[in-house]
Amino acid sequence: MILEGLAVAAFIKTCCDTDEALTMEEGALKKYARAFERSEEAELLVQKKAEYTDKRLANVAKKKKAIIQNTVPRFVEVYGKIQRIELENKTSVNELVIKNNVKKMEILSEISILSKKDFTDKELICGLITKGFGGMIKADAERYLSAASSQMRASNVAYSQAKSIGEAYDAIVGRADRIADLLMKMNALFIGSIAETEKTIAKNGLDIGNYSEYEKGVLMTCVNIAAAMSDIISIPVVNEQGQLYESAKEMVEKGEQYLKKMNQLIQA
């Protein structure tokens, strides 16, 4: 329906500029009105799709913000304690995990420091958080903007491209929802793991000798999830031109596999 209407619209738009369209007779006028109505309806539907896409992109930004502002600071606090266990006891319980994930932990720490700063929706949707925090703070201006929809609107894409407009919006919404779902579930897993780690540290203190193998595993799992989380927070939906990031698909799949594996482990 949309595409049919938009195709007609392209035709009408051309007609509109010509004298023929302006001097039409009754029958032609009815046809013109019908076709124009379909094009108007198609435009309205595309506009609704754009608004819906905006909402779903903002939803991804919300999920990321929630993790950055609530969960990450909690983890950073726990992570400090885990490091102290390691430092005070020369045996490196978590050495492997921490060594392997040191960069990711740094990113999370930085996010935690910056969590007081409001990330713009654009930063969160386009995944700029992996591209250097300095630049991000400078480029603070464009708020409440989803790169994808603004691109679509601003460029006022021709009707003849209606098919790709519809498909582009659907693809963006599909990807955004998948990422939001992953973020939501990973956040729940992460919070559970942080709570478990806090409990374990509160019970055993900083002496590694007090920890059972299972409890050491709890600590390591938490750091592991944090590392995975760092990757997932950085998954962009679209680039600044409003196009889907191809590489993000792979990252989402990896994240989903990780989540599945973790859930299986928890249930086992």
Binding site: C16, D17, D19, A21, L22, T23, M24, E25, L29, Y32, A33, F36, E37, E40, E41, L44, K48, Y52, K55, R56, A58, N59, K62, K63, K65, A66, I67, N70, A180, L183, M184, K185, N187, A188, I191
Partner: protein, 338 residues
């Protein structure tokens, strides 16, 4: 009956949605309670934990509905439904809800390829040609009708569409009332199931859908609202003005004369002929468009009134039907719990 209430503080983190089947995600990512889902006693402890984990303290377990038990409680639920049905009203529209403002519509400017052609033998001939061209492209019925049609079609689709959309979808003006009654029914169903058991009322009792019939005269009037574009009085209003005769527009254009070589005379001298052309057609066309827009705004009250009276008549019938269907549901419910 216990339910979760989500306050405006919700940040849309989704933690509660992952951990509870009593909440769902809205389009904007925030959580909302699923209508008609009462928290089961066996889930209460888990839900308390979910509520306490909300980082924004946006969740609360609330007790709603009757405090009575068994059939007495069910009767109270029914009485509450009856009151809701009585209070149910469809908000009638004002003219300001369906404004027709010409500035929101684009009327394309006609153009002519005869402009600037020095082919008229006199000023009068050029002026007459300019007037004919203006008439053909702007002033005649065949010319202005598509312009008005475009405005009316746009107005219909962008402003009136919700009122002639009789499908169960968000874009319909009747949808929100259906949703409201569905929520009432869903909550009553959950409450009564809790009070007298789940097997007493079929789940299909909650289904509710009342829309005006597509064949309703007023629905069709709105659906074909653009057909009234020619009877809207806009052109009469335009032509009633003292400066809007076709001649007045023709005078806005410019007329130039030039000498054209037409060959050699009998004794070899060059012969020239004076030829006239008209230019500035766009100025006249622009003024016509502005005048047309003025006429649209001048007549807009009447046009809006026609649409509003039809919409409100549809609302009158719709409200009756809505209440009738709601009443029938309540009667059915009374039968179930007898």
């Amino acid at each position: 009956m216990k339910q979760i209430r989500v306050s405006g503080k919700c940040s849309g983190c989704g933690l509660c949605i992952v951990n509870s089947s009593y909440l769902r995600e809205m389009d904007n990512g925030d959580a909302e309670p699923i209508p008609g889902k009462a928290i089961k006693e066996s889930d209460l402890e888990r839900i308390r934990k979910v509520v306490s984990q909300c980082p924004e303290n946006a969740l609360k377990i609330i007790e709603i509905g009757t405090k009575k038990v068994g059939r007495e409680g069910a009767k109270e639920v029914i009485n509450d439904l009856k009151k809701k049905c009585q209070d149910l009203s469809v908000k009638r529209i004002e003219l300001s809800d369906i404004k027709l403002e010409s500035r929101n519509y684009y009327i394309p400017r006609p153009s002519t390829d005869k402009e600037g052609l020095s082919k008229y033998s006199s000023y009068e001939a050029a002026k007459s040609a300019a007037k004919d061209e203006f008439n053909r492209l702007c002033y005649s019925e065949y010319a202005f009708r598509p312009m008005l049609k475009k405005v009316f079609v746009e107005y219909k689709v962008n402003v009136l569409k919700p009122f002639y959309t009789c499908k169960d979808e968000e874009g319909s003006a009747y949808y929100e009332y259906n949703q409201l009654v569905r929520n009432y029914l869903a909550n009553a169903y959950a409450e009564i199931c809790e009070l007298i058991g789940e097997d007493k009322i079929p789940a299909s009792w909650k289904n509710f859908s009342v829309y005006p019939p597509k064949e309703d005269w007023h629905i069709n009037y709105l659906k074909n609202f653009d057909e009234s574009s020619t009877k809207s009085g806009i052109i009469a209003a335009l032509k009633n003005l003292s400066y809007t005769k076709a001649d007045d527009y023709a005078l806005e254009m410019d007329y130039d004369v030039s000498e054209q070589y037409v060959g050699e005379g009998l004794f070899g001298q060059s012969k020239y002929k004076k030829m006239w052309c008209f230019t500035g057609f766009y100025k006249a066309a622009d003024r016509f468009r502005e005048d047309l827009k003025w006429a649209i705004d001048y007549q807009s009250d009447e046009i809006e009134e026609n649409a509003a009276s039809s919409i409100n008549l549809i609302f009158d019938t719709f409200e009756e039907e809505l209440k009738k269907a709601f009443d029938e549901k309540i009667e059915k419910l009374e039968e179930y719990i007898k």
